[in-house]
């Protein structure tokens, strides 16, 4: 076989190569297991002894030269890749993917709120939805025959005279404080129930998050700082916050907490009822009577508690105008979150 002829053929083959695949074909043709070079190498033993040395060297040189040429060609092809391939698809075509599902917006809201408080050191605790009258009312300093109960209309259960569906997440305060000694730093998300007539902002079931911090030195000023961190975390650093005196039987001093309206930035609009403020939660220092019920010494401990409606926060944050949407579970709604 004429080495020079082979050289020529290689050159011709390589010149015709335009793609990596073509180059691979050439490589296999010459360098593959059954390629020409293997054949040449295999024939060395059969070459007459006096020519064998020269022939061997020629085959070796050919191999090296071929490797070099392939390497060069490869570089050349790589450089060409930036040039649009005519087989390349229209990138305007839809991407190929299997769609993931979505977490319910209430779950997302709870996760977001919990993660803010988790970073501050609060732990998540849950409690039962069917509660005792004691935990839901009496233990929280809400006398059974007092108008302060009017805010907590309640579903009762048949067959059990003292069992009800919790009307707020606060009974978990009583449970946790009875079971553990301070320091306590907990948040409690969960479902709550009130026999409210259904409309765009009221439902007989909704979600709340309760927060509770008890230690030897917890102050109202701490409540202000903690809730401001929270509100800015959810609604942005620019919002303003105000604490308004209010009454809750289980806290004193008590406050309702407003943020500057996120729609009109405090100028007054239909969302905030022209007030410029949006009420987002209730809070206060835990009432000494609540401590008495759970056996804490109010000379030694102070604490704060706060509670908010998840749907309310989510409606404000996401601009949802009807609370019923959360429970209709229209996939077109769910997939927006």
């Amino acid at each position: 076989m004429d080495i020079n002829l082979i050289q020529e053929e290689i050159k011709k083959d390589l010149a015709g190569v335009t793609s990596r695949q073509g180059l691979e074909e050439v490589r296999v043709k010459y360098l593959g297991r059954k390629g020409l070079l293997a054949e040449l190498t295999g024939s060395i033993p059969f070459v007459p002894a006096e020519q064998r040395g020269v022939f061997g060297k020629q085959v070796n040189a050919l191999k090296n030269s071929l490797l070099n040429q392939i390497e060069e060609k490869e570089k050349e092809l790589t450089a060409k890749i930036s040039v649009p391939d005519k087989n390349f698809q229209d990138i305007g075509m839809p991407g190929i993917v299997r769609m993931p599902g979505a977490l319910h917006p209430i779950t997302q809201m709870i996760d977001e709120i919990c993660s803010i408080f988790n970073r501050m050191g609060f732990s998540v605790v849950e409690g039962p939805e069917v509660e005792t009258e004691y935990n839901n009312f009496t233990g929280l300093n809400i006398p059974l025959d007092h108008p302060s109960r009017d805010a907590f209309d309640t579903f009762y259960l048949k067959k059990y005279s003292k069992l009800l569906l919790r009307s707020h997440t606060s009974p978990v305060q009583v449970r946790v404080m009875k079971a553990q000694k301070p320091p306590l730093a907990i948040i409690v998300p969960g479902r709550v129930y009130r026999p409210d007539a259904v409309d765009a902002s009221h439902l007989f079931m909704f979600h709340q998050i309760e927060g509770l911090l008890v230690d030897t030195n917890i102050r109202f000023s701490d409540l202000k700082g903690t809730l401001e961190l929270f509100a800015k975390g959810i609604f942005g650093q620019d919002i303003k916050m105000r604490f308004r005196p209010h009454f809750f039987p289980f806290t004193e001093p008590s406050a309702e907490v407003d943020i500057s309206c996120i729609i009109c930035k405090g100028k007054g609009c239909s969302v905030c009822g022209k007030k410029g403020w949006l009420e987002i939660l209730g809070a206060g220092m835990i009432h000494p009577n609540v401590f008495k019920h759970v056996g804490y010494d109010s000379k030694k401990y102070t604490g704060f508690a706060f509670g908010m409606g998840i749907e309310r926060i989510a409606m404000l944050k996401y601009g949802i105008n009807d609370i019923r949407l959360f429970f209709e579970n229209d996939l077109r709604f769910l997939k927006q979150f």
């Binding site: 190929i96 108008p147 946790v176 306590l184 230690d215 030195n217 102050r219 109202f220 604490f243």
Partner: protein, 674 residues
Amino acid sequence: MKVTYNWLKDFINLKVAPAELAEKLTMAGLEVVSLKELEGDFVFEIEITSNRPDWLSVLGIAREINAIYGASLKTPNPKEPKLKSTQNPVLSIENRKDCPFYSARIIRDVKVAPSPDWLKKRLESIGCRSVNNIVDMTNYILFELGQPLHTFDLDKLRGPEITVRRAKSNERITIIDGQQLLLDPEILVIADKSQPVAIAGVMGGKETEVTQSTRNILLESAVFNPGLLRRGRQKLGLQSESVYRFERGVSLSMAKQASLAASELIVKFASGASSGFKSLGYTKPSERVIDLDPLYVKRVLGQTIPAAKIKQILSRLGLKVKIKTKNILSVKVGDFRLDLKTPIDLVEEVARIYGYEKITRSFPCINPGTKTTEKKVPLNLIKNTLCSLGLNEVVTYSLIDRNLLVKSGIKIDKELAEIVNPLSSEQDILRPTLLPSLIKCLAYNLNQQQDYVNIFEIANIFSATGAGVEEKLVLAIALCGTNSFLTKQGLVKEETGLLHLKGVLEVLFNKSGIKGFDFIKKEPGKISIILGAEEAGFMLDLNSPALNNFDIKNKQVVLAQICLKKLFSQASTEKKFLSLPKYPAITRDISFLISQDVAVKGLLGLVKEKGLPLLYSAEIVDYYQGKQIPAGFTGLTISCVYRASDRTLTEDEVSPVHNSICSLLQERFNIKLR
């Protein structure tokens, strides 16, 4: 509670504009929900919290403004009139616990007429309808001083005498709005010699009301038991301005004062003559003394407020403050503030008037270590896994209609937890399973022209037991419809079925670190999910009656429900690294036809056993039924991976093992190799 700017000015020297006043009141806890200009006056609508009955009066709000601005408060001080004759009313109280104080004043020769304009206008501006001068003047005092009053036509009272007592069973009364009510001993009434003439503190009777022809009146001012009145009016379904105040608590000294103030007005504007008075149960109200340490104020608020400032705030609120030894304040509380009982109540007063906004925020030092509600696998891991598999989380109501359960055909072997007072039958039980809610949600979405609905929910289910209501956290999944997705070969449409559901669960169990799980067919259309050795839930293919009930047509619905407590008991979040294989594997596929009667699970087990120790894994990588396959058969491909941990396997080692597997399958299952 509505109050006007001019009315407030009767009690306090107001210099601030109404809008500024509204803002200040709101920030002191009297939330002004609306402020409207009305014929040269301004009407404030204020939301009064249930702990402050004293704010249900013009005087109470004026006292608050005094605390905020330090403007001087004019307190009324009516004098006891000289009686023209001394024919005192005959009174008795059955039980002083029901009625600690009752007073009756007789005014004779009144001229009942329409009210003077100023009175009409004031009442109407706060939304109170004018009736006649006598009724209007008692209402006026109610709004001004917060003490409900009532007037009877004296000549229509039998006796004339008054007894405060519980109603007798089956006694009846027609009240001023014309309703006839059936009474019972849980209801406190004012009665004359023979029958009830008013529901005490709630509403007067029609028969003895003051009318155009009334000449002589009996003016009632009393203090009733708040809880008793509340229960009574709830039972009768009544509400009134009077009982609203009695429920929250009225003060004894104000009850006395209001009677005088009303009689003064009546004598002045309806030309009557005071001619008799009698009261039962009056004792001089004892003033409560509360000691307040300014250090306690600081401990609760985190803000230093000087003792002098505290003293000023409390004094302006109408409390008597003295500085005792060691900077301790001694605070005397009059009976107009029934809500102030302990030092913390005073701390709130100080904070309110000092201004919450002036308290500098701080950050607490939070000590970790609270025990959390333990879950072996975070719920979010479960939720996120399901979402990553394309499922959407839903949240549905825990309260459902029991008929929904029947519609879904899902059998419940536990007793239902029922609601005493549902708003409607749609919420009459706590659901014992999540599945009916999911089916309903699924049907709703199909109705919204969704082709493919894949949803899950994690929530409690409930059942009634002897010990109470049991709550169980479960996961439920519902899949239905045709999933369409784009591939390089174009659009692929795939009908969802039980194997899709199984696939989702397998991924979930693996992610949860569950070692042993199994799916066992128990009855037609229902498959038990076994975790460890325990049945933890089930999958089912919804039967056609149920599909019809939910109006789901030509679609298969597959459902699963799993007890999460059982899942957690088998789950593990511990992770352990296994070395990656050092030597390459050899993969050999077996494609064959097999009778559909053969269960593949047993077949795979046998293959794995036979292939030991070189067979590393054996998996079904393809199956097919239909064209090219004879009826009753399935085309199956099993991919066998052979591997050794200490060397590269050779064909010579693998072939005999693989061939023996093929022969075994031929022998045992009569497979036909393709």
